[in-house]
């Protein structure tokens, strides 16, 4: 695999991204940043574009995404079948974690027979 460690990336609300940057996972260089702050005014197309950009970079290992943001681009997520980066749905301050909406969790629960 790659010798160079990969970045984490985040697409979420202001608080999530702040925590992300506080922990030191933020990265910004000449090309672009590895995060996107999504608020009520962000257009879905912008989210989709950033998603496509982040998933086509081969130096991004994990993409964290708030569940409410994930819901907005659910169709794109359902078609996503790459190994890298891994998409991890996380709850946000205003939207607690809902296992039913999480694609991976749905399959896990289905296989466990829950």
């Amino acid at each position: 695999m790659a010798e160079v460690p990969k970045l984490l990336a985040v697409m979420g609300d202001e608080d999530t991204v702040t925590g992300f940057l506080l922990a030191g996972a933020g990265h910004r260089d000449a090309r672009s940043a590895n995060y996107l702050i999504v608020d009520g005014k962000t257009k879905t197309s912008a989210i989709v574009d950033k998603f496509k950009e982040l998933t086509s970079r081969d130096d991004v290992g994990i993409l964290l995404i708030n569940q409410n943001v994930a819901e907005e681009i659910r169709e794109v997520l359902n078609l996503y079948d790459q190994m890298y980066p891994t998409i991890l749905e996380i709850p946000s301050k205003d939207h607690p974690y809902s296992a039913e909406k999480d694609y991976i969790m749905k399959r896990v629960m289905h296989m466990l027979g829950k």
Binding site: V17, G19, A23, H27, G61, Y84, L88, I90, K93, D102
Partner: protein, 253 residues
């Protein structure tokens, strides 16, 4: 469905041997793949349980982390968020991908790597609330470690799922198509060989019979000829004597 299909093989003994070897190989392959599939499935089940429990608890952790962030914002300058974003940044936390091997399937595992070279504790130019911010940073860092582990589990889950599907497809293909076909081919060749043998035996018997009849005829002819010859040679001798006896005046006796 494919119960009676067989391959087009020329029925000879050598070809039979070849197909017998094929059947053995297919059977071995099937056993091995089945074992692999079972091993993968066991690992998969364990993984499922892990993912379920980790993700469920992650929801709570996230809440705590958000709360501590709110605390920090309240204690410090509410604008520190923006100060954070404005700074040029180099990611301090990264992940390294390592490969884990389960029954021949390579599973990716994420490992957290902290880049120590980048500046660690920064002041963010704030007068107060430093302790809250520090607590917040710690909370988020722990959260990240769990998130990274969760991501590893997720990727392994997806990779294993795919591998199990592929292996099971092969197992089924061997079991339902390759092995029955080979067995049918072997049966066909054996029955053809038997038939040929039977024909052979029949033919040989017939030939022997014909030969025997011919021999019998020849022998009887020969016997007849011999008798004739014996008889005629005796007659000849007698004739010769007679011819010798008469009409020659020079012979005194």
């Amino acid at each position: 469905m494919s119960g009676n299909q067989r391959e087009n093989a020329f029925p000879t003994r050598q070809v039979l041997q070849i197909y017998k070897k094929k059947a053995k190989g297919a059977q071995k392959g099937y056993d091995l793949l089945k074992k692999k599939s079972d091993a993968l499935t066991v690992r998969f089940r364990a993984l499922l349980k892990q993912i379920y429990s980790t993700k469920s608890s992650m929801g709570d952790e996230m809440k705590e982390a958000s709360f501590s962030l709110a605390e920090a914002v309240w204690a410090a300058d509410s604008k520190f968020k923006y100060k954070l974003i404005d700074k040029p940044m180099d990611a301090r936390i990264r992940v390294r991908v390592q490969n884990d091997n389960v029954a021949g399937v390579r599973l990716p595992v994420f490992e957290k790597m902290t880049d120590q070279s980048a500046a660690a504790a920064e002041a963010y130019g704030l007068a107060r609330g430093g302790k809250e911010i520090e607590k917040c940073t710690k909370k988020w860092t722990t959260l990240f470690e769990n998130l990274i582990q969760l991501a590893s589990l997720q990727t392994s889950f997806l990779a294993l799922d795919e591998a199990i599907k592929v292996t099971n497809r092969r197992v089924n293909a061997l079991d339902n198509v390759v092995i029955p076909r080979t067995k049918n081919t072997i049966k066909y060749i054996e029955s053809e060989l038997d038939e040929l043998e039977r024909e052979d035996i029949f033919r040989i018997k017939k030939v022997l019979e014909v030969k025997r009849v011919k021999e019998a005829v020849e022998r009887s002819e020969f016997m007849a000829f011999q008798d004739d010859a014996a008889a005629s040679s005796a007659a000849d001798q007698a004739n010769m004597m007679n011819a010798y006896d008469t009409k020659d005046e020079d012979v005194i006796f």
